[in-house]
């Protein structure tokens, strides 16, 4: 029996001890009419060899294309040591570290992660992760309402370059608690928010959300927006890409006072693309609002002998203590992904992470240069970009992407649904994993398609 060790003799002996005639007797408190005979719809068991063969065939179907899609998930090189160590059974098959003495490995790793993440974001406190970037915005918005008691508003104002999918997720999760999300208009020359419409006559929002680099790869006027928010009684929520923080001013450094809450997608830090998950959500904040933060937090303390050790702390915020009055219903987070990202950040170090960020910026810039040399393709904005950029085509993007895919190139993200004001706009991304030859392959495929 797969994964069940009992011999027939043992089953007999155990039933004898229990005083039951058969295993079926153990289910005698369940109304008989509910018991089922057969699970139609579940196939018979496969051996490990058979399932491995099936999965290899299926995985091979999905391989082989050169990927230039970013849009919230980024292909970076992942050092072999990251997942070799992360999938050690002691990390992989442990549970949430409730028994601290038996979980110091996981707890110290999280403490080290919190250290790295607070430093990258310029915040005082980081939690041990949320589910993913999109849902981290929902939690950050809910947190801002709890933390900003002076504000009566439940309106959250998003900069123009916030990922549309994040807005959808935040609305689905936080909407039932009365939060609404609105966007600033996009300046279609620069690809960043048009601040002209900021009007302090309106009711001030409870929080302002700024994504940097923006979903479009551009730079928002973070200092102006941060100061405007604080002057109007709103908190500032930053959405970050952690790789870029190796070279970008941290949100703690925005404007006069800095952002109040930082959230974002942790995937770029050593997590495989894997069709969208498991990833992990970043959540960091200033110390004065830590008690409003959702999720697990690890603290360093001492044991009975005075020796330093680590434990979950500030648990009075959480669902298993506070039940209906907790800061969130979150329980399990993305522990294993945090372990991987901590090992990733340790292997890269400040210099390595900065090289990854700048090389990605460079490769995207080179790609854009190649693409805009093709007839019918132009750069969408006059402003600088990070490792994603928008190009505009002289025809609808969808069919062009289909034709590129047939040529083995996943050419980017079609923006016409999220940003119709940009016309036939395409978001492209090249990370450090794309060498110059790869960029040439893309350019030549696009040239073919545009000339066809």
């Amino acid at each position: 029996m797969p994964f069940i060790p009992h011999t027939e003799d043992e089953v007999e002996a155990m039933l004898g001890e229990i005083g039951a005639d058969s295993i079926d007797d153990l289910f005698d408190e369940i109304p008989r009419e509910l018991l089922i005979e057969d699970l139609v719809g579940v196939p018979d068991a496969l051996s490990e060899q058979e399932i491995a063969r099936l999965m290899r065939t299926r995985a091979a179907q999905d391989r082989g294309a050169l990927c230039f899609i970013g849009a919230g998930a980024y292909e970076h090189h992942i050092p072999a040591a990251v997942w070799d160590i992360t999938t050690r059974g002691e990390f992989y098959s442990a549970y949430t570290p409730y028994q601290a003495e038996a979980s110091q490995g996981t707890l110290q790793t999280i403490y080290e992660y919190q250290t790295m993440m607070t430093s990258l974001t310029g915040m005082d406190i980081s939690n041990a992760s949320l589910y993913d970037g999109a849902s981290s915005l929902a939690e950050a918005a809910l947190m801002s309402v709890r933390a900003n008691r002076k504000s009566k508003s439940r309106r959250v104002l998003l900069a123009a370059g916030v990922n549309h999918l994040y807005q959808k997720v935040a609305t689905a999760i936080a909407g039932s608690q009365g939060l609404t999300f609105e966007r600033l208009p996009l300046d279609i020359e620069t690809g960043s928010s048009d601040l002209g419409s900021l009007d302090s006559d309106d009711e001030a929002p409870v929080a302002v959300v700024i994504q940097l680099p923006s979903f479009l790869g551009t730079y928002e006027q973070v200092d102006k927006l941060t100061d405007w928010a604080h002057e109007n009684g709103a908190l500032v929520i930053a959405i970050v890409n952690p790789t870029t923080l190796a070279v970008l001013r941290s949100p703690g450094d925005w404007g006069e006072l800095g952002a109040d809450i930082v959230c974002g997608e942790g995937q770029p830090l050593g997590i495989p693309l894997s069709s969208g998950g498991p990833y992990f959500g970043i959540m960091a904040c200033k110390e004065k609002i830590v008690r409003q933060m959702p999720g697990r937090i690890v603290g360093r303390t001492t044991d009975l002998d005075g020796k330093p050790g680590f434990t979950l702390t500030l648990q009075a915020r959480e669902q298993h203590i506070r039940r209906s009055k907790s800061t969130s219903n979150i329980c399990t987070n993305q522990g294993l992904m945090v372990t991987a990202s901590t090992i990733y950040m340790s292997l890269l170090g400040p210099e390595g992470l900065s090289r990854v960020a700048l090389t990605s910026q460079q490769q995207t810039a080179k790609l854009v240069e190649l693409l805009v040399g093709i007839d019918g393709v132009e750069a969408a904005f006059s402003a600088p970009h990070f490792h994603e950029a928008v190009v505009r085509l002289d025809r609808p993007v969808g069919p062009v992407l289909d034709a590129l895919a047939e040529r083995g190139v996943l050419g980017g993200y079609d923006l016409s649904g999220d940003f119709p004001e940009l016309g036939n706009a395409l978001l492209v991304c090249a990370t450090e994993t794309k060498i110059d030859e790869d960029l040439e392959v893309y350019a030549s495929a696009l040239r073919d398609v545009m000339n066809a």
Partner: protein
């Protein structure tokens, strides 16, 4: 001295050279955005990193190293093959926004997973997107709310929750803009039907139940509860935390539940990972189908060939929406898929049977050894509760002391002090993976601890002694917050 922090091993200028792009980059950042300080990331060699985190891993208890009978967590064996196949390059490297044409392998696994989960739960449709049990709960309650609102009954905002429920249940009700109404449990561990009849009414949105409950017993009045709640116009939510107990034997759909979430990291053996990632797929009956979270994987036949595709807002306009940036914890879903195919139809039933056999055997052995059961008149499900309130009174060692002393005996502790209504409780779930000899050794360990307490209670209260650290000062941790290292 504790283990050094990775930052304390750091030396300026040292690095793992092989792990970042070589050569100079022409990449630039506008001056006004450029960072001027060096972030606190360690500057260490690759070997230092490997050795540091390998050593840290060795400070953990885990399923792979220890019996881990944590109640309501289903710490069963996580087959290695599930991990290695989920990390095949074609799966691990697939971009979530890649076209369907370049994802048929992945999508076919997801579609089959939906079908298998429908089969084992008896539900009519499944969405795989929730990223953990708690998010599955959020999806479920949000669907219940959306259903009532769509029927013009927005006033239905009360979610009934038994007092034995997981904390996530009432917390979820709040997150969905509902009120949690707690009802008591009777002396034998069943829901108090009179109390239920009193609270249902025109404001009832639904009830959240775990069955078997967290008390380790099957809710015998389930069909009566179903009638009371449905007659009052409410819906029934099944918390799948304990599905392992009845897998292949009884299906929530047949009990009349309208919506369920599964914990794939429990029942279907995906790793707990030191606190996630989980996966909280939801299943629904016909009434809630239009409200499922998106995306869902659909299938069409084209020229005799099956093609798999995403169902989105266009297909499910009443959906409660997206709960994650893409489609949830896809890699976890792949692991669950592999596990289900390895177990197969026959194995599903065996899981429920042997999880129940192990729990009843362990419960009986502990009772014979003089430990008091919380519900001695009942059959155990896949877990059961021992209360050490007598030991706490006479020997002055409480449930936490037993838990900590078990660590010295080489066992992870059971769940302690949950559920909240049983004093000094140990909630014990052995799972089907464990051999009877492991269960026997666990009984011996608890007996030894009690004997030691009779000799010297203080010795037990000081446990553990053999772990990397001894009991930690939680009060200090919360009062003198030290949540990140900073250089002196």
């Amino acid at each position: 001295m504790g283990e050094q922090l990775i930052f304390e091993r750091s030396r300026p200028g040292r690095r793992a050279f092989a792990q970042a792009p070589l050569g100079d980059s022409s990449g630039t950042v506008p001056d006004e955005f450029r960072r001027t300080d060096t972030p606190i990331l360690p500057q260490v060699s690759e070997l230092q990193v490997v050795r540091h985190y390998t050593r840290l891993s060795q400070k953990n208890f885990s399923i792979d190293t220890h019996f881990y009978p944590l109640g309501s967590c289903t710490m069963k064996y996580n087959p290695r093959i599930c991990n290695s196949l989920a990390l095949l390059p074609g799966f691990a490297g697939r971009h979530p926004l890649g076209p369907e044409t370049h994802g048929q392998g992945f999508l076919s696994c997801m579609h089959e997973l939906q079908e298998m989960l429908m089969s084992v739960t008896g539900m009519k449709a499944v969405s795989l997107t929730p990223m953990a049990g708690a998010q599955g709960e959020l999806a479920g309650v949000a669907m219940i709310r959306a259903y009532h609102v769509a029927n013009g009954q927005a006033e239905r905002d009360e979610i009934i929750v038994p007092d034995a429920a997981h904390g996530t249940n009432p917390a979820t009700a709040t997150m969905c803009g509902c009120k949690a109404i707690e009802i008591p449990t009777d002396g034998e561990g069943d829901v108090d039907l009179e109390a239920l009849r009193e609270v249902v009414g025109p404001n009832t949105a639904g009830i959240m139940l775990t069955n078997p409950s967290t008390l380790g017993v099957f809710e015998r009045n389930i069909m009566e509860i179903e009638k009371i709640v449905h007659d009052a116009g409410g819906l029934l939510y099944y918390d799948g935390a304990n599905l392992n107990a009845i897998l292949g034997k009884v299906r929530p759909g047949d009990m009349g539940f309208d919506v369920i979430h599964l914990n794939l990291h429990k029942t279907f053996s995906t790793p707990h990972g030191g606190g996630g990632p989980g996966s909280g797929a939801v299943g629904v009956g016909d009434r809630l189908k239009p409200f499922l979270p998106i995306p869902v994987v659909g299938k069409v036949e084209e020229k005799g060939e099956e093609r798999f595709h995403w169902l989105t807002e266009k297909d499910l306009p009443q959906s409660i929406g997206h709960l994650s940036g893409f489609m949830g914890n896809a890699g976890v879903l792949l692991r669950a898929y592999v596990y289900m195919r390895l177990i197969g139809k026959g194995g599903m039933k065996r899981i429920g049977e042997f999880a129940t056999l192990n729990a009843n055997y362990l419960e009986k052995r502990l009772a014979q050894s003089g430990f008091e059961l919380a519900f001695p008149a009942r059959r155990a499900s896949h877990e059961f509760i021992v209360t050490v309130k007598n030991e706490a009174k006479t020997l002055h060692v409480n449930a936490m002391d037993f838990a900590k002393a078990l660590l010295d005996k080489g066992f992870h502790a059971p769940t302690t002090y949950f559920p909240l209504l049983v004093p000094e409780c140990l909630l014990i779930e052995p799972t089907e993976s464990e051999t009877p000899e492991t269960l026997d050794r666990f009984v011996e360990a608890l007996v030894e601890i009690r004997d030691e307490a009779r000799e010297d209670a203080d010795r037990v209260k000081g446990a553990p002694y053999t772990t990397p650290v001894r009991r930690l000062d939680d009060v200090k941790a919360a009062r003198q917050l030290d949540l990140a290292w900073r250089p002196d």
